[in-house]
Symmetry: D2
Subunit: 338 residues, 4 copies
Amino acid sequence: MINVGVLGATGAVGQRFVQLLADHPWFNLTTLTASERSAGKPYGSVVNWRLDSPFPDSSAELIVAPTTVDAVKDCDVVFSALPADIAAKLETDIADAGVGVCSNASSHRMEADVPLMIAEVNPEHAALIDVQRKKGRDGFIVTNPNCSTIMLATALAPLRKFSFTNINVATMQAISGAGFEGVPAFSIYDNVIPYIGSEEEKMSREANKILGTLDGGKITGAPFSVSASCNRVPVIDGHTLNVWIDIKATPAEVIEAFKTWQPPFSGLPTQPDHTVLYLDQENRPQPRLDRNRGNAMTVSVGRVREGIRFVAMGHNTIRGAAGASVLNAELLHTMKYI
Amino acid sequence: MINVGVLGATGAVGQRFVQLLADHPWFNLTTLTASERSAGKPYGSVVNWRLDSPFPDSSAELIVAPTTVDAVKDCDVVFSALPADIAAKLETDIADAGVGVCSNASSHRMEADVPLMIAEVNPEHAALIDVQRKKGRDGFIVTNPNCSTIMLATALAPLRKFSFTNINVATMQAISGAGFEGVPAFSIYDNVIPYIGSEEEKMSREANKILGTLDGGKITGAPFSVSASCNRVPVIDGHTLNVWIDIKATPAEVIEAFKTWQPPFSGLPTQPDHTVLYLDQENRPQPRLDRNRGNAMTVSVGRVREGIRFVAMGHNTIRGAAGASVLNAELLHTMKYI
Amino acid sequence: MINVGVLGATGAVGQRFVQLLADHPWFNLTTLTASERSAGKPYGSVVNWRLDSPFPDSSAELIVAPTTVDAVKDCDVVFSALPADIAAKLETDIADAGVGVCSNASSHRMEADVPLMIAEVNPEHAALIDVQRKKGRDGFIVTNPNCSTIMLATALAPLRKFSFTNINVATMQAISGAGFEGVPAFSIYDNVIPYIGSEEEKMSREANKILGTLDGGKITGAPFSVSASCNRVPVIDGHTLNVWIDIKATPAEVIEAFKTWQPPFSGLPTQPDHTVLYLDQENRPQPRLDRNRGNAMTVSVGRVREGIRFVAMGHNTIRGAAGASVLNAELLHTMKYI
Amino acid sequence: MINVGVLGATGAVGQRFVQLLADHPWFNLTTLTASERSAGKPYGSVVNWRLDSPFPDSSAELIVAPTTVDAVKDCDVVFSALPADIAAKLETDIADAGVGVCSNASSHRMEADVPLMIAEVNPEHAALIDVQRKKGRDGFIVTNPNCSTIMLATALAPLRKFSFTNINVATMQAISGAGFEGVPAFSIYDNVIPYIGSEEEKMSREANKILGTLDGGKITGAPFSVSASCNRVPVIDGHTLNVWIDIKATPAEVIEAFKTWQPPFSGLPTQPDHTVLYLDQENRPQPRLDRNRGNAMTVSVGRVREGIRFVAMGHNTIRGAAGASVLNAELLHTMKYI
């Protein structure tokens, strides 16, 4: 059994990690960390469980540890839901101490020797771990991308066989993406906020790296540009994207690619039957109706039409965060990095 | 005094017309039409007043007329909130009977001799009325565009001095745009519906006509293309647009254009101080905060950045429907068509 | 295997019935009825599946039947999601034709020989079927109560051992209770509607019947009064009740009753582990967090305090409608009425 | 001119105070206080104006002062939007320094010599200021009640001519009542929170004091009891109350009282034409439709029926907070306390 931990187990993404790991067939959840205030107490007594899925009883008695290198040094891999400022140094220290870090934080995503990975999309980038190892690190850091970027890059994976350049994308992002307390009701109810700090820049640079080419231990970013316009809308979970892509393909060819594309592997515990699922109804995908497909790991696409325009949608805290990270770890296990 | 009427006075747009006309300085609201079921009764007793502005007492005792040519033949101009299928023939008959029709309906918008007008943007297109007159019509039909198109075309007006081609636009449209009963709560609450029937096509063809050139009694559509992706979001009033425009201008030049552009006239009763208002905060415009600017007639713009990308937002049933139509009538009065 | 059908299979409650019956361990779903327009076509092709649970593939190929006696005469029991006006005569005819009718409609609830049943609360009322049989009916009609009444009466079941008189109850009812199209977004968004037609009267008379005593083939209503104030609120699923009850018990005794009460049977397929579940956190129950407990069949209670006041909440279309009806049928099967 | 200030001018209630005072016919807004971080800068540059009414330009250049006694000593009266913990000592010190304090905070409401006032309901309680003066205070503290209590007590004012005892009340309170940041969207969207800390206790004791009798410098609380159940619902502004009142009157008599009751004075600048307005439609009052009546100072009532039950609703940050306080000050000015 592989012993795993969650760094920052009480927040929105942390609770999703616990939900996904509590009864995982491969991973044994041994360690949960949170703030000093919660340390030393049973997780069940300190967490304010905010998800609509039931609280996993198997984690209730785990004693919360402080968020330190020492607390997790006996884990084989930890999943990080830490805020970026804390993640920066701590994840480095944990990786250097020999523990694998699968991180949802943004801090290390763009570093040259850190894979920025969506398991089904760019699994080959895992080899960057070897570069970290060569530099003397016993553990590793692997990151998953920003939630909106995951939806975009996953939807683009089937289209890589075509040639494409410019992408314009408008996002309509769910409330949960900002954490449980992140968006006040007074701000977003009956409203659209047409700005999410750093989101547009992240989508651009992260997409280029994810779909870039690994050669000689370095990634050359993909040559397309992403021009994003990111909005917060009154939706609880599920990010919706309107995409324009300058692509040498007809709508019918794009639909066919969406319908037939297969990831290079299958059957991992958190992997959905359909990583990308094409919906043919004219008013789909919709977040409330489609966000839970594939145990909330499927990216649904639809409305493919000349432009080329299409719509993509996925669950932002599962496919877009914790689920992406857990699936990465499952892949790394099959690759023997874990 | 100019006697006016409202066709279809009990629905969402109809009530907005009544709100704007009930105590108008130039127009005397004499006639309200609705269904046969309501005809013959006082408006105050049949209307289910759904707006959050107070019911205008001056209209309470007007006896509702049936929606027929005869009922409105003594009006100088009527404002039509009719559904497209009814508007098609009835507006033609009313115009032929000598009454001016300022219509919010889509039925006649693309006809060659019918102005598709945003008063401050293409007032010169009013001259198409002369073409209708030459064909023997005593009245006229003038239309205002679809709500989303109004926001887009109004925001583009200050940019016409630059050269631009492709436009991609994602809309996030408010519930009220579909009428009081148009969107079930179960459909839209905690959701995004990434499809609004015919909306994308309307935005495209209407924008080209509005910003097109009138010459020799014919309009040549503007040479830019509009590729739209229209969504319904959980907002009560106010349509938000994310725009990408292929334009030969820098962000600073675009901002300057937004700040300095003036319509070719001012001071009409329904005209706002700012037809286009540039907001410099990074997270504006937002519908709930900005939709009422200029008595809900201002189109707010912001987030101008390289791309060129910007955000535009306006009140969809006032600037985007009834207010646009009333302002058109005010303009036509100054032009002596009314 | 018991052959069952659903009358009115395409609406909000109808879809819940299909969701619950499609793969039921005891019931074989053979027949789905809908309007004439849908009749003759596969269910999967005519239904606009609006639930966030996946469409049950096993029902996709069932050919929709028209809503007639003839269409269901080979069923052992049918579940009715019909509107009250249609249910009135049709359910009578179907029951007379020898089919058992478990109905969610209000039409027959208050009839003297029709059980108004919440399976765990007043199972003994099923004996009224014998009265129907004596009158020559081969089938039967059994009804479940109105959604809000179900939450109230279920929460009162553990308290029957105490003596109580007056009840005041304020309800905050979810949108889905009015059907998919029942509440326009424009009406309820950022709003409370402090009126639901007939709801307050139903709560009052139905609660008295459910908790009444069956003796000699007649039910004597329970001697407490219910004074209700019913409101619609912007919640998708889940009705929340604030209850004041004039009861001879302390808060501690009421809590103990909630925690210890057991229904007179257990283990039916749709029966939850906890029919009534006491939550001790100070801000619970909440609909979004608690409505899915017990597969959405649990009524959660909390905030018990002097007054006596408490809060109850349950899923309105499962516990409050389709689930209640299916559980009734399961009970009737154990009692050999089916 | 009377010089006034606002303590805590940047939060939800503070901004309402500024909105109401910026261009007040009697009061000259000279001083705005906020945190140390904002002190010394123009109000327009530090406030994040969150109201949908336009920012009052006349206040933009006021230099924000720190929240100290010294900052406001030259004001005749200050309006306090301070949180309770800060208000406790600071308001005392400011009043002792000779400034009148009209406070929205809860800190001093239940003190024996502090009026807890709704201007139209218990104006005679202002005489408690004389008790403060006798104790050597040069200024005064006058408080307005909690928002829900204001709606309840105002609705009860017309009913004082009848005899009444028990009141049960369920509240459905708006988001803005908790401040701009007080309720996370993730907590309240598609949800009801059946608990608001201390609210039920406040409603009970405050209502008794407001409707109590002042005699010999002491208030004897009114002899009715209030048993409340307070909920937060997804509404932006406007608290809705379902009331049960044990009263010796028929529904018709209660309606007549609501329709005919007049406050003991009229014509104050912030006073609405109708302090209490009876609406006879069966589904009113509703917050989104009725909260702005009387410039958001009217408490609307309706649905009066046997029980006696009725519904009341008012704007929680204007009638329920800042507007109540400003109206109190206007009254105190006519009474020469200011």
